[in-house]
Subunit: 389 residues, 2 copies
């Protein structure tokens, strides 16, 4: 187990009807709120009205900024920063999924910073302060509701880049599983693919003797695998929704990072994919991950055999560890397909014409590698994308 530091201060408020506490909780931190959200789904579901009523009941002022898109854009972040400064906002409340939360975190860091908030994502500066951020989560997926990270897309060149800072852990996050009853099924399964990817990015590690967290990841993967089809069969199944939602937070609150180095190459590759083709992040991950797994399998076959056995219930063939590992990957692909996810670039609807461009961007023109489990050069990424065709 590697030495580590772990601290996650986010307060989770979980369960039915919990969005009614948002005003009371917000009042502990701020007086004037930026209410940040995406499109009309929170209007249609009535969530917007409930949140606004709770803020008003707590005597809070607020301004609004909607319009967050999937793969949230820097331009809207800039508008948010300006709005907060103009209006004297002291608290950012994201009502939505990972994109809205990531956008809110960017705004929170941007408000007290004199330069361009993109500096953080470009690795040119580090924030010293941020406004407090909180969330009402509507999509279990990104884990951003209890993470220190944010991913933003810069339209100027379509760069999609992540940044992590302790300053942007949400002070609280409200998780009501009922809120996912109205999501389109495809959005739920894309979210599940993202949740699973967050666990796999951590699972495939070169760190040795990491049994506690290996087992926690395996068991949480199993919970997701069990509950997604259950939820799809009945999209009013609170119990299944609750398991998916809580697993999604645990998958990315950094407990599963303790004592080990994660990989994250698949996320990097997918970021290039969705920046260029604007595909859903989770669908992109479902496509990239099995290809990445086939490509990296021989780097640590024992880990892949353990994964196949413990997560996918593959009977280990001790004379054929490679076959055992491959059967695990095959079951993973079959699972993705069974819930309506793509596992090839074709099924994803991404073109194949710009693969080299993506591999080039991910490695900054083949000058850098991505990933930790296996350090990938441009040619490796090309080979992985080829396996994903």
């Amino acid at each position: 187990m590697d030495n580590f530091t772990f601290r996650n201060p986010t307060k989770i408020i979980f369960g039915k009807g919990t969005e009614s506490t948002v005003g009371m909780e917000t009042a502990k931190y701020g007086k004037k709120v930026l209410l940040h959200y995406g499109g009309g789904s929170i209007m249609k579901s009535g969530l917007y009205d409930r949140v606004v009523a709770s803020l008003k009941a707590a005597g809070l002022a607020y301004v609004e900024l909607g319009g967050v898109q999937p793969n949230p854009r820097l331009e809207l972040v800039h508008r948010g920063v300006k709005l907060c400064r103009d209006e004297g906002v002291d608290f950012i409340l994201a009502v939505g999924g990972g994109s809205t939360i990531d956008s809110a975190k960017a705004i929170a860091m941007g408000v007290p910073y004199e330069g361009d908030v993109w500096d953080f994502y470009a690795g040119k500066a580090a924030p010293k302060r941020a406004l407090p951020v909180a969330t009402v989560l509507t999509i279990p997926a990104a884990g951003s509701e209890s993470s220190d990270s944010t991913v933003i897309t810069n339209e100027d060149g379509w760069f999609k880049r992540g940044y992590s800072s302790e300053l942007v852990y949400p002070v609280f996050s409200i998780l009501n599983p009922e809120l996912i009853f109205t999501l389109p099924a495809f959005q739920v399964v894309c979210g599940a693919a993202d949740i699973m990817a967050h666990m796999m990015e951590r699972y495939f590690t070169n760190s040795k003797n990491v049994e506690t967290v290996d087992r926690i990841i395996e068991s949480t993967m199993k919970t997701v695998i069990h509950n997604v089809p259950k939820f799809l069969a009945n999209q009013k199944d609170y119990d299944a929704a609750a398991e998916i939602m809580w697993s999604g937070t645990l998958a990315h609150n950094n407990i599963m990072s303790t004592g080990r180095m994660g990989d994250w190459a698949s996320h990097n590759i997918e970021h290039e994919l969705s920046a260029i083709y604007d595909v859903a992040h989770g669908a992109g991950l479902a496509t990239v991950f099995p290809a990445w797994m086939k490509y990296t399998m021989k780097h640590d076959l024992t880990r892949y055999v353990q994964y196949a056995e413990r997560v996918w219930n593959v009977d280990v063939n001790h004379w054929d560890p490679e076959g055992t590992a491959l059967e695990g990957i095959r079951r993973q692909e079959a699972f993705y397909r069974s819930v309506g996810l793509p596992v090839t670039l074709k099924e994803l609807g991404a073109g194949e014409d710009r693969l080299e461009e993506m591999a080039d961007k991910a490695t900054k023109g083949d000058t850098e590698t991505i990933g930790q489990f296996v350090k990938l050069k441009k040619a490796d990424i090309m080979a992985i994308l080829d396996l994903a065709k």
Copy 2:
């Protein structure tokens, strides 16, 4: 899954040599430290010298209070409160195991409180403030290094009572698995029994649809079960020590309480046992728990079958769920014995002469019940203690 709120702000600093950071971390919160510890073991191991050197290097003043005993006493807490007030202490650093940490938490709550700190444990008052507490953990067991709870024994009547408050989450805890190399083996296995008990108290619940946390508990139990014998075979095995230590913290940082109601009757019964006979808490739990399990098994046989299968690898006999459940309990007893733990009151070295007195105290003269999974009256406790003979 029940609605819940979860927040755990403790910063964990984990790994080899991490006690060298204690001065630097402490300086973020205080200027004058109460260094609180037990007996001579931290002197002998050199830990005391390293901690003091780190505090001095950070320019911190400190006063000392040693002498914490297992089942920490109210009298020493009172002395600590007075010492802190007299000396203007603003930070409590516990260097030791759960007893030392629990004593430190009591002192931290007592210093700013005008009445007797026992008021909190007696349920007569709630603290409004507390000094910040931090820990350097030497024994993986109680989980107090990342919990909001403390248990103190009042010598006036030998009452052992717990109290929980967000105010006493340690601000940081330093966990170096190397520190357990010098522990007597019996102390390690008692710690493991305590860790397992913390998970079982949460596992046996009436809350329905709690798969995520069920699986996390099962997998962490397995990690402990796997690594304790490994550590006993080589008490310099850092990897096994690290798994035990991190599992011990995860077992009690309240992640495993999310969405469910725990039981805690076995802890209550054991508190009476160790208050009267001054036995090791973990050994008492190893004795009480299997008896409690046999007594409560029929309340939810399905849960016991799941437990037997997933934690103890029992092949389920679907025609005989009771036999399956019992085989799980039998394997648990066999495990305890295999690592040198008692599973009967006789093996524990506790007398059988005061069982009724214990049952009486636990239920306040049969006017209250204990436990949540099954609510136990005095006669139930007597029956459980009878099964433990």
